[in-house]
Symmetry: C2
Subunit: 593 residues, 2 copies
């Protein structure tokens, strides 16, 4: 039985000291959000995560969602937990007040989402997908669609899905073939969608599918795709449920992980055609889908943080209890936490979780600034940061989670490989995060091909300036330890800007594309090092002021040093690979592989 304790103190540290909670709370529209309220929410959410969601996580993995004759039954305990989750208002919490939610900043809802994902990643996918669907309808749907569907979706009484993928259309949505034929006030949808997360289940009364499909006269490619609302049960004008729509779950997948989350093959329109309602304008479906996709990408990046935190807690608990051998420099009878290499593994996990969390929360704060700041230029700059950071958080935090959850198994030794221990599940669950909502390769191409190129590196250089400012403060701080961190951070940001310049100078697009993923890792690592350097800066100031818990601040100094000494130097390797290694990536003829 594995447990999860929400790291509320670390979360509050990242929110307050690194992401700027006070500034976000002061933005127009967030007047209700105060530090006291935020702390109360995090404490309550942490209890729900520990008490309700974490205990059914292993069961969800072992039993999985079960399919029989188009009906999907969630794993034992999931339906009850979901009912509590909705009834207690957690489902509606992140939504705006106009939709029936609490209207809290993204910076506040993101840590709460992190808790759900840590406690039970498979479960948390259901509300995450629903809120993505809510966002798409809220932004682009007609008033009638909004009135008919959103209240129940926000409350969690009904859940939502994103139906994008088809067998021939995965990363390339231009290849979507599902058809939508006009039929009076609605459309008849037919086609097969795959990889539909929580596409069918028994936890809610209705499921509202958002489906990408083509109209008969649609132009080919991405500009001919429209978005439709396709409910499982028709919804009458009075809000009551009507007939079953012509759609069904043909099967669910056997996956490596997230067994508790049914991944459905959905068959639309096998009889008369599934009734669907156009969202917004025809042929703009992909654009609308990206409204929710960007949000989803940040959320999947956050899954990387969350599952790494869970793996860290699991490994730490084991390392505190297990006694084995005499640690080098220690005494017999001490737990394996005293072994230098176990300590290295745990420091690796802990410092990277902190760096990733800080980066994700910083991005969340930029979303709030971009949304609500009264100054146009400030909003625009924040928006550019959000757009630059989104693929980085998605790609870097998820890729890191593969390494961190694997390290979590390693800390356990032999029992780590035994499923009952629970460490394997985290690694198996994490494995999807670098794939769905756009693979790491897709994120990296977005980063290099769009985010970096479109403004010729302007946002990247603005980021570098912010990082340099921190580094210069540290080197000039008069504190030897901080100065050393500052020097290393300055070296790291130089690697970043040199690589940005190199990327922008290339004329053959295949050449930077060959190093796009290492560039994404490099960017995430430099940004993470920046956040950790800022954490060390705060910690030193608090220590100097004799403010609060010295042990907490000293630990922040130590994890910052670890990240900057162990993780930041990886940028040297990636820079070399990107700049020297493109030709060898592309050197082989097909037959030579």
């Amino acid at each position: 039985m594995t447990t999860y304790i929400a790291p509320v103190r670390d979360m509050l540290f990242a929110m307050k000291e690194l992401a700027g909670l006070a500034e976000v709370n002061a933005l127009p529209g967030y007047e209700e959000s105060s530090e006291d309220l935020v702390e109360a929410i995090l404490d309550e959410a942490g209890k729900f995560a520990s008490d309700v969601l974490a205990p059914i996580n292993a069961q969800g993995d072992r039993q999985g969602a079960r399919w029989a004759d188009t009906v999907v039954t969630a794993a034992d305990g999931f339906k009850d937990a979901y009912t509590q989750f909705s009834d207690n208002g957690w489902h509606a919490m992140p939504a705006g007040t106009d939709l029936g939610g609490q209207g809290l900043p993204t910076l506040v809802s993101i840590p709460v989402q992190e808790m759900w994902k840590s406690a039970n990643m498979a479960f948390a996918l259901c509300p995450m997908l629903t809120m993505g669907a809510v966002e798409a309808v809220a932004h682009h749907g007609s008033d009638e669609l909004k009135a008919r569907y959103l209240p129940n979706m926000v409350a969690g009484t009904w859940t939502g899905t994103m139906n994008l993928t088809e067998p021939q259309a995965g990363s390339d949505l231009a290849a979507v073939r599902t058809k939508a034929v006009p039929n009076g006030d609605h459309y008849l949808i037919s086609g097969t969608k795959i990889f539909i997360t929580w596409g069918e289940h028994d936890m809610a009364e209705n499921i509202i599918h958002l489906v990408l499909a083509r109209l008969p006269d649609a132009p080919p490619g991405v500009k001919g795709i429209s978005l439709f609302v396709v409910p499982k049960f028709m919804v009458n004008a009075d809000g009551s449920l009507g007939a079953r729509n012509d759609l069904l779950c043909a099967s669910i997948e056997h996956k490596m992980g997230i067994h508790g989350s049914p991944t459905a093959v959905m068959a639309f329109g096998e009889k008369e055609g599934a009734i669907g309602y156009l969202v917004g304008q025809a042929n703009r479906g992909l654009e609308y889908m990206f409204t929710m996709m960007n949000h989803a990408r940040l959320n999947v990046g956050l899954e990387g943080v969350a599952i790494s935190e869970r793996a860290y807690q699991q490994a730490l608990n084991y390392a505190r209890e297990r006694v084995q051998g005499k640690p080098i420099g220690g005494t017999p009878g001490q737990p394996i936490l005293q072994h230098p290499d176990v300590r290295r593994m745990l420091m690796n996990m802990k410092s990277r979780v902190e760096a990733m969390r800080a980066t994700a929360y910083y991005t969340a704060a930029q979303i709030d600034v971009a949304h609500s700041h009264p100054d146009d230029a400030t909003r625009l700059e924040a928006q550019r940061f959000v757009e630059l950071f989104t693929p980085v958080v998605k790609g870097w935090c998820t890729e890191a989670s593969l390494e961190i959850t694997s390290t979590g198994i390693q800390v356990h030794g032999g029992v780590g490989f035994i499923e009952e221990t629970g460490a394997c599940q985290h690694m198996r669950d994490a494995r999807i995060t670098t794939i769905y909502e756009g693979t790491t390769g897709i994120q990296a191409n977005d980063l290099i091909g769009r985010k970096l190129s479109r403004d010729k590196g302007e946002t990247a250089n603005a980021l570098a300036s912010r990082i340099r400012a921190t580094a210069d403060q540290l080197t000039g701080s008069g504190d030897a330890a901080l100065a050393r961190l500052g020097e290393r951070l300055n070296a790291g940001v130089q690697v970043f800007t040199d690589t940005v310049s190199w990327v922008l100078a290339q004329t053959n697009p295949a050449v930077p594309a060959a190093g796009a993923v290492p560039f994404l890792w490099l960017t995430g690592t430099v940004v993470g090092a920046w956040q950790m350097a800022r954490a060390a800066q705060v910690a030193s100031a608090r220590l100097a002021a004799g403010d609060g818990d010295a042990s907490f601040w000293k630990a922040k100094q130590a994890t910052a040093s670890f990240f900057i000494e162990h993780e930041l130097p990886r940028t040297l390797a990636w820079q070399a690979a990107i700049q020297n290694g493109a030709a060898s990536v592309l050197a082989l003829e097909d037959a030579q592989f």
Copy 2:
């Protein structure tokens, strides 16, 4: 359905051009081994691996070995395959002629083992463990023990196990508690052993357990452990099987991978005591066990190579077939193999497999030289290389296999996460390799604490001299591409020697221990780069001579460049972590984690 085609050509390249097959074949005792014979063996073994072992690999994963009331039944097809494997002489092949084997060099048996592991890692564990047990008895057992047990074990009619681990005694075998009480010409063994690979099954007539246990008067710790032969069925003087011994399989584990290989909890002596026979002298059991452990460590390192090769083949096959999007710099309709990032992933997998294979085979050749060379000094030097390389091959190749099998999933995108695709199994199977036969941490402590320190870096520096000699040949070759590789290899070996000097200069043993694992990765990567540089050197010479298949040699140049441009720079990051980051590894108080 996934397939496996033994990479015979690449194997022969590594054997002939890098490991020195001709020199090994010329050693006393290996007169029978010729290039023609070796090629014939590899071709036949490749067929057996593809036709018999690979097709039951997925079934072994899905169904797993099954336990019911102390009886373990292997997955469907395994018993038949095992019978064919033994009947066709593959089981006996690696043994010496004195034992009924073919007396071939280790350099020849290792590629054949690689094939079994690639085709079906779970299956291959059974003969691997048996041959380890054979080795221990052959080296240390009495003539009577040898005569009674070895012929059937070598033939594969009986299988063998290594019973080391107990719940409280994993990495720390000093904690072994299993008891052995003298009783006439034998001992009565009692105790529980866990994690016993193929500890119980239905594939062979008898199972010969090698068990570590303590005599009543044994001194505490590692110097009080003895080794016993404990057969499942007693063996009569005429070789026929007698009564069932007092041992049973209490359960088997539910593991993340290698489901086809039963991992048994073994209960010895629950009634009158299990009859066991002392191997060699009392209290020297651990020393004897290490005879087979070193062999087993090289073999587990080889599992890292093998499972990576299998994952590469699987990913490559998918990348050749799957069409998705327009590759950057390509045209619509081309398979994803044309996407630069997919190409980067496949080059990463391919070049690392080649580097790891070359390093493992080079080590195998050194074993043969250490065993059979007529010159004492040459034998001794080879032995020192074997001892230095064994933890590196074990630790580096297995750690790399975690990354490579994960990359194999990534190449597949969404279908990679679906179990039926087969890519997940390789990652799940690989996950045990960094744990059993000594975790990576154990290997790294062996490397730094014993292999490096005991001769004050003499062997490491001898290795560096060999690498520098290659680098200097390349820089002086007059070929610009080779010269560039030579320069980078020289920089890499400098990183290695600087780090060796730093490690040896430390006075607090916890400080180098904090960087022991990164040092192991660093060492493996520099050695792998050396082998790849040698491959490029050979390839360039052959191309210049117009000798053979130009496409093959050009591919070897490309994978060498890739490894040296993408992998070798990682040594910079590890060096920084080791030399700058020890203090932060050890900085936290326990409560601060």
